[in-house]
C-alpha cells in the first residue's frame, strides 16, 4: 500500500468510521464509475482505532471520522489536511416495534421501570446523549453504557431494553426492527463528522473528498439519515 508515493496513483485509501460503511461503500462505487481505472479501498473501523493506526503510520489518504475528537488526534500529530464537517448525525429514541414500556418522549426514560441503554460517554453517541439529557434537564439511570451505537441498538432490537438513544441513521438502517421517536432536545446534541485528506495524500484523495461534499454525496448520506452540516 504505497500508492501515495508512486507516479500516477490510481488508488485512494479511505479510513472511515464504521457507521459510514453503507454510505461510503456506495460513494466509492460511484467514484470508481466516474473515474475509470481508479480504485477506492476502504478501511472501516472504530474512529479511535483508525486514528491510532494513522498516527502509527498507516497508509491512509482520507480520514472520515465519527467525531471531531478523533480527527483532532490525527491533526495534532500533524497528519491531517483541511478538515471539513460533511454531515451531522442526530439522536432519536429507539424502542422495540411493540414499544412495551409505552415510551413517547425523553421524559419517559426517567421512569425507573423503563430499562434504558445509552452509549458510554467516551463514544460520540454517548457524549451526545449526555448533552441532550442535560439540555432537557433530565436524569436517566441506564442499565448499560454501551461501547458503540450498534451495540446499543442490538439491545433494543432483541428487546433487552425498553428504549435507547441512538442515531437516526441507525434507526433507518435497522429496517423496521426498531421504531425511532424524534425528540426536540436532539437538536442541541448533534454530532459532527469531519473529513480530511492526510499528509502525502495523492490528488485523487481530494477528489474523493470533493465527491463526499458534493450534492451527489450529500444525497447518498441524507438518504441514510444523516443531516447536512
Amino acid at each position: 500500500g504505497s500508492s501515495s508515493t508512486e507516479g500516477a496513483p490510481t488508488q485512494v485509501t479511505v479510513f472511515a468510521a464504521a457507521s459510514l460503511t453503507g454510505t461510503f461503500t456506495e460513494l466509492g462505487k460511484r467514484f470508481e464509475a466516474a473515474n475509470p481505472g481508479t480504485k477506492v479501498t476502504f478501511n472501516f473501523g472504530s474512529s479511535a482505532t483508525l486514528a491510532q493506526q494513522i498516527t502509527q503510520g498507516a497508509p491512509a489518504a482520507v480520514f472520515a471520522a465519527a467525531s471531531p475528537a478523533t480527527m483532532k488526534t490525527v491533526a495534532d500529530a500533524g497528519l491531517a489536511g483541511t478538515q471539513t464537517v460533511f454531515v451531522k448525525n442526530k439522536l432519536e429514541i429507539a424502542v422495540p416495534p411493540d414499544n412495551p414500556a409505552k415510551v413517547e418522549n425523553l421524559k419517559d426514560l426517567t421512569d425507573p421501570k423503563v430499562k434504558v441503554a445509552l452509549c458510554a460517554e467516551q463514544v460520540p453517541c454517548g457524549a451526545a446523549a449526555v448533552k441532550a439529557l442535560d439540555a432537557a434537564g433530565l436524569k436517566v439511570t441506564p442499565v448499560t453504557l454501551e461501547q458503540d451505537v450498534k451495540a446499543t441498538l442490538t439491545k433494543v432490537e432483541l428487546g433487552e431494553v425498553d428504549a435507547a438513544l441512538v442515531y437516526k441513521t441507525d434507526v433507518i438502517a435497522s429496517a423496521g426492527k426498531v421504531t425511532g421517536i424524534p425528540f426536540p432536545e436532539a437538536d442541541q446534541a448533534v454530532n459532527d463528522y469531519p473529513i480530511a485528506t492526510l499528509k502525502d495524500a495523492p490528488a485523487l484523495a481530494q477528489k474523493f473528498v470533493d465527491l463526499v461534499l458534493s450534492q451527489q454525496g450529500r444525497d447518498v448520506l441524507t438518504k441514510a439519515g444523516f443531516e447536512a452540516p
Binding site: A48, T49, Q122, T144, L158
Partner: protein, 257 residues
Amino acid sequence: MPWLLVVPAMLGMVFLVLPLAGLLVRAPWSTLPERLSEPQVLEALRLSLVTASLATVICLVLGVPLAWLLARTDFPGRRLLRALVTVPLVLPPVVGGVALLLVLGRRGLVGQWLESAFGFSLPFTTAGVVVAEAFVAMPFLVIAVEGALRAADVRYEEAAATLGASRFTVFRRVTLPLVAPGVLAGAVLCWARALGEFGATITFAGNFPGRTQTMPLAVYLALETEPEAAIVLSLVLLAVSVLILVALRDRWVGAAA
C-alpha cells in the same frame, strides 16, 4: 543444547514478549498513580478478577466432566459433539453475546421463562458477566483437559477399578490427579481468556460501572478517548494477572512436590 529447539523457542519468546515491551516503553507511567486512585478502575479490576474466577469455577465444574465424557466414553454423536464444543472458540465474541441473548435474554428461549417464573433476568447483571465469560472460556478448558485425558495411561484407572472404585471415584482420586497438570493448564487458559473477555460480555451483560464493567470494557472505552490511558489500564490488568498466576503456580507446585 538442542539449538533446533532453543532457537525457535527464543524466537517465540521474543515474539510474545516484545510487544509487551513496546507497551511498557510507551505507557505514560506518570499517570499511573492517578489512574489507580480512580475508584472506577479498582472497581473494574475487582469485578474482572471476581467474575473471571467464578467463570473458571463454573467451567471446571461443568467442563472437566464434559472433557471426561468426550475422552473416556463412547456414544453416538460424540464426534459431532466434540466439534460443537470447539465452536464458541471460533464464534466472534460479539456474535456469541448475541447468541446468549437469544437464549438467556429477556425474550430468549430460556430467558423469558426465567423472567416470568422467577422475575430474574441475566443481562445487565454481574451474573450475566460470569455467564458470558464462562461461555467463551469453557471450550479452552474442555479441549485442554480432553487432550490431557487422552494422553494419560488408562491402566491406572483399571487398577483403581479392581480396587472397587466406582467410575466417579476413579475419576476423582486417580484420573484427576494424574491429569492435574493438564487441568491446571486448561484452568489457566480459561481464567486468562475470561479475564480478557470483551465482546460477549459487553453484548450480553452490557457495560455498567461496578456491576458489569470489567477491565477490558474500561480499556476499550478508554481507547476511544485516551489511548495512552488504555495502555496503562491494560498493563495494570496484566501485572495483576501475572502476579496471581505466579503466586498460584508456586502454591500448586509446592503442594504437588
